[in-house]
Symmetry: C2
């Protein structure tokens, strides 16, 4: 079987001119297996762009809470068995949940209704698989289950997943539909569930779970290409105080409905002459919503697969890339991974579930799965360049609509399927909205959005904003992770000021611009580190810049990573540190730190270490670009090569950390093009160095922006010259307006650093309080 993800190009092709006819299409270049091993937490299954359904194999759902981290996306490349195919997965999350509505084909006369022990083959419905039989493409996944010889294929539309199972000839076809397994499946996760057979053979059901999100409700509707010959609905829970609910037959399993907390169904189809197709729609609203979603997306397996393939071809067509094959795969897969979330959350009829757990109706497509602490950095800025304005408008509208019905009156923090998880810190929906507004994305009510942003930044009980507003910093004796919160609040505040200024709301702009300087209140110039302060004004002691602990002064990190987080005011930092040279020295100390005496095995999300630079987690993501702010752009160029070479490769273990709903990928995509949005809301992309020979961004407005890297090679890894539309570019950044206008950004690469380009204070990227070159 042709293994797309192992497709390697002949060497000759690598040297061929860009856009050669023989170059695989963007669609064929994507490798969904990237990140399914190691720490990436991606899934290989079928999903449409921003699709509500992510239909993908689960190799293990029987984890303990700690193990769940490894199986956050259900599938791990190292595993040898598949438990089943479920309809919802996060792409690269650092937490775990979902795995809803697990389906497994069973061939033959006996049907086990328990998955069995992965270490003991044949003890349940779980089956072995072989990577040689796998195919993964955007919107399509296939595998042969070794034990039963069933060929399993998956595709997905926006709100529909379609399974196709080819059973061995002469063997009876069954499906197990198991509502018990889950990702992050500790005891008691399923609060309630139900399953119902309708007279026309449709099956609907619901599952209400308490996982990462509390009280999450998900509904499904399922239709089959063959008639259902028989069925059994079982409740395997013991110790139920009142059993009357088991239904009229008091224990019979052929009833039309079953409800309980441990449900599993056996569905029998007899011997089939054709493959069995299963169309499944989901909804966060209700079963009627799922039924309607199923009706709204017509078509059999091949039709849905073709429609989704076309959607991916269009989405991936946002850029045309020429690069060596591994980098081209890395880049297109990065783009693919950046187009999975925020997932569509509203039903085809416009209804959606809000953070108040109530159902609302919208006249736009509501999205959820907002991993905002990650995605405000590069993922959302990327989407403004590669997705239509309408889609970006819908993202903003979704955030504001959520705020409007929030019990707390604030924007989402880490939300999926409309449910708030309160994961991570800050109010980073704010920079997403501000960045979109600053870039001219219209179509949403800017006044309402600004009100929502201000409300989120002033809700006292959230993350001790009350003290932050009174003291100018979050005090560590009253709130954990106070240092991180102070600097992240300050940046978010600056983006409010940016947007308010542009809207003419001067009072709000002045107020939040002042707040945005609060990062200084937690910075200890003496040690040169961001530090947590107590409410009496003193810094907390003892202080160890390498310490990483939960509930400590920092969020998933330490002083080394967090001391650089003032993206709107790196110049102010440079001044505090004593100027360019001191800053470069400190940056180098970070990248070259000797970790041999440290142990971070107790902390999640600490992966991809280069000294104390941690590429596997987001606080470091902009740090390599800070050399540019300190007048040393060639050092940024060096660090980027170091990072890309060590942290990305086109293999299952090719992501050094959780993809975090596209942020790790978006970093690579921007960096590959040669620039990065260090401070969303600034409308500047800080120039690094390109990793592709050529890329054409087909922008949402119809313009084309081309990046060229002349003389690019492993040896020529320094930027010699930069020309914008043929004219030398002195600045160390390009503006969003320059990009959106279309044109050409030409890098001339060379083997030695150009230590003159973009070093003058006036050529450096934006900083609120000026440049630190003095």
């Amino acid at each position: 079987m042709k293994m797309l993800r192992r497709l390697t190009l002949p060497l000759a092709l690598l040297a061929a001119p860009a856009f050669a006819q023989t170059t695989p299409s963007p669609y064929d270049t994507v490798d969904p297996f990237i990140g399914t091993g190691g720490e990436g937490h991606t899934f290989p299954g079928a999903v449409a762009p921003f699709g509500m359904v992510q239909l993908s194999p689960d190799t293990d759902t029987t984890c303990t809470i700690r193990d769940c981290y490894d199986h956050a996306a259900g599938y791990r490349y190292d595993d040898t068995t598949i438990q089943g195919f479920s309809h919802t997965h996060f792409s690269g999350a650092g937490h775990s949940d979902l795995g809803d509505f697990l389906v497994m084909p069973v061939a033959g006369d006996t049907v086990a209704l328990e998955p069995g022990d992965p270490k003991k083959p044949g003890t349940g419905y779980r089956q072995h698989f072989d990577h040689q039989t796998e195919i993964a493409q955007p919107g399509y996944y296939a595998v042969t289950l070794t034990d039963s010889k069933v060929r399993a294929e998956m595709t997905a539309g926006t709100r529909v997943g379609v399974h196709r199972y080819t059973f061995p000839a002469g063997q009876a076809a069954h499906l197990v539909l198991d509502l018990r397994p889950s990702l992050y499946n500790y005891p008691g996760k399923v609060l309630w569930s139900s399953i119902r057979l309708w007279p026309d053979g449709t099956i609907t059901g619901t599952r209400q779970t308490r996982g990462w999100a509390p009280d999450r409700k998900l509904y499904f509707a399922m239709k089959f290409s063959a008639p259902l010959a028989d069925h059994a609905f079982l409740d395997t829970e013991k110790h139920v105080a009142y059993k009357g609910f088991q239904g009229p037959g008091r224990g019979q399993d052929d009833l039309a409905e079953k409800a309980g907390r441990q449900l599993v169904a056996r569905l029998d189809f007899g011997r089939l002459a054709q493959p069995l197709e299963v169309r499944v729609a989901i909804s966060s609203v209700d079963e009627a919503g799922a039924m309607n979603n199923l009706t709204a997306e017509q078509g059999d397996f091949d039709a849905i697969r073709a429609k989704t393939k076309a959607a991916w071809q269009k989405a991936l067509g946002a850029v045309e890339i020429a690069a060596d094959a591994p980098m081209r795969t890395t880049m297109y897969t990065a783009l693919y991974h950046s187009l999975i979330a925020p997932s569509v959350s509203s039903d085809a009829d416009g209804r959606w579930r809000g953070p108040d757990n109530a159902v609302h109706k919208a006249d736009f497509t509501v999205h959820s799965t907002f991993s905002l602490w990650d995605t405000f950095r590069a993922e959302h800025p990327l989407l403004t360049l590669v997705q239509p304005e309408e889609t970006n408008t819908d993202f903003v509208k979704s955030l504001v609509a959520s705020q409007r019905v929030s019990p707390f009156g604030i924007l989402p923090v880490w939300q999926f399927q409309g449910r708030e998880t309160w994961t991570m810190i800050g109010y980073h929906a704010v920079p997403v909205i501000a960045d979109a507004y600053m870039k001219g994305i219209k179509g949403f009510d800017a006044k309402a959005a600004l009100d929502a942003m201000v409300a989120s930044a002033t809700y006292g009980p959230y993350g001790d904003l009350k003290d932050y507003m009174a003291l100018g910093y979050v005090p560590i004796d009253r709130e954990p992770e106070a240092a991180s919160k102070t600097v992240e609040y300050a940046f978010d505040d600056w983006t409010i000021a940016q947007m308010a200024r542009k809207m003419g709301e001067t009072d709000i702009a002045d107020r939040f611009e002042k707040r945005s300087l609060n990062w200084r209140n937690s910075f200890d110039a003496e040690t040169g580190f961001l530090r947590a302060r107590k409410s009496d004004g003193s810094f907390r002691t003892p202080f160890d810049p390498t310490a990483i602990n939960y509930g400590s002064d920092y969020t998933e990190g330490n002083a080394w990573q967090y001391s650089w987080f003032m993206p709107h005011d790196e110049g102010g930092l440079i001044r505090l540190l004593g100027g360019d040279d001191a800053t470069v020295k400190k940056l180098d100390a970070m990248f070259e730190f000797d970790n041999s005496k440290l142990d971070y095995s107790h902390a999640e999300d600490i992966a991809g270490l280069i000294g104390q630079y941690i590429h596997g987690n987001e606080p470091s993501h902009h740090v390599a670009y800070i050399y540019n702010y300190a007048g040393h752009p060639w050092r940024t160029q060096e660090r980027l090569k170091q990072i890309v070479d060590s942290q990305y490769k086109p293999t299952p273990d090719g992501l050094s950390g959780n993809d975090d709903l596209g942020q790790m990928s978006a970093w690579m995509f921007f960096t590959g093009l040669g620039f990065y949005p260090v401070a969303p809301g600034s409308n500047q992309y800080v120039i690094g160095r390109p990793f592709v020979e050529r890329a054409v961004l087909n922008l949402p407005g119809g313009k084309h922006f081309t990046v060229r890297a002349d003389h690019l090679s492993a040896a020529n890894h320094y930027v010699g010259r930069v020309l914008l539309n043929g004219k030398p570019l002195a600045k160390g950044y390009v503006t969003d307006a320059q990009v959106r206008a279309g044109g050409e950004l030409r890098f001339v690469m060379q083997a030695t650093p150009n230590k003159a380009w973009a070093t003058a204070p006036a050529d450096r990227p934006y900083s609120l309080s000026g440049y630190g070159a003095e």
Copy 2:
């Protein structure tokens, strides 16, 4: 304080002519405490006629499952402490659930958030109370909490409960709102709950429980007459795997919302100059529904109390009774208890939750709380006489609407708040609908209703109807309680036939009339008892007619009680037993059975024994009237005196068994008037003997039907003559048409039996297969 329930009339008044000016009004005569002790399971709290809210004190919710039976209505007259006031209660159920949203006032500076040990005063918010301080009237309840001196008053509208708390002067006022306690409160009962404070001070919340009904959702909205000064929302559950859901403050309790499984709230109002009023609406649909229900019923405590008092005065005005004071209290309280269920279940906006757990909308008032195995007997027939046609039409429409959305396509069995509990046996919504139709209640779609009845009687998986249809009886080797099921199905089938015949649906009528003779297939003429048969046709052995066991041949009873259950064909039974004398002998053997060697303490609902006659449970309810069918009406008269004297009294322990949502009370009410609907659907009321001197039924059609009992006294307990509209009535029954036409049924009572009246076969009540006098 004036204790209404202890009000006794001067002896002189008892002998006064009926309708004397000094007789207390019907409203003032009702004693809601009747049944709150002993086995009655009624509650003393505030409820409007058929109201959705039953706001009543809970003296204990900390029962084990076995203890819960005693506290099925929350309040037990023997208890000495009150835990709080909750908004939902069954009136006389044999199972337990509800007790939703418990509120308790706390005065002073410290507020305990646990109820504490009832045996250790002061260990929690639970408080002592004294019956001397209690007042209970229809729609009003008051008590003084002894420890804090808080005066607590309750009233209720249809969907609203209003609390009024008068705190001691100078003491801070607080409320505890506890979402944890419940009736039938085993661990894990609360699947999920939430509470939310809105900017205007309204509090809303929800509780999803798994009790008697699975996955029951109830929502509330609550407004206060004084501003909320402070609040705390706490989640007391331990061992939560992912704690992020605790909200943005991660453990703070002053947030605007909290969700979890163990929630309790402290609400602080400071020192108040006025009593604190709390308006609470509930909804089975959603919080918006509860909010809207709160808006729909305007008015403060006194206004709601006055409105509900007027509603009760109107409802109780359906009859004017002259009787001695204890019997008058018994009769009006019986009428009161018969007007509590079926409770309103739809919201003010017409939305309601169905047995499919989905929300629907109706253009009529949807009722639920259908205890049909009990209430088809006399409770629903009574409601056709004392409630408007529209209300009875709504009951039928509610049943049919439920069937339409049932996952099983069948009518309710034992349903509350739209949720099916599958309690007891049979499909007794069928006789409720048939009886209403036969009595000329219109306004519902008879064809749709008949379809729903047939669907319920032919759904194979329910109670082994599949075998019943194939074999003509339910086989005990395939289904428990098979003997009871066979005879109850047969009666229900007969009512389908009655209705179908009247509609001209002859095929259906013939088919179900034939089925209705199936009772014979489980009757053993040799032993003279109903017995369970196996699928091979043999009766199960060994056979002990006194055995009562769960899962046995009978439902909450034995062969003694169940052998009489063919209300549509008692004549057929008499024939099988060998004629009138043999039947009377067997009836006497039942009433006079020596139980001294039996122990029924293991069985629920076995109370009120007179030999093997068990008045405390429904299968016996028509049995005393069977003497009439056997030509011995004076023996019926004797047994009724024996039953009424021993099973009813106007005291807390005045009901010998669970009131069962009005059935025990409806039995008393009919029997007190002198006749009883042995076979609903027959349009006949079998004459017993009156216990009141005079009663005027003010019928829904505007006519008046008067019952007179001339010469009634303790000594004159036999019926000498019966005159209908002045003419001698030879029949042992009156028809529904005769009653509804208005007029006068005059009994002339005497001290000796009249052994000639109504004994001729032609004068006996209806039997399908003729009379057994041969």
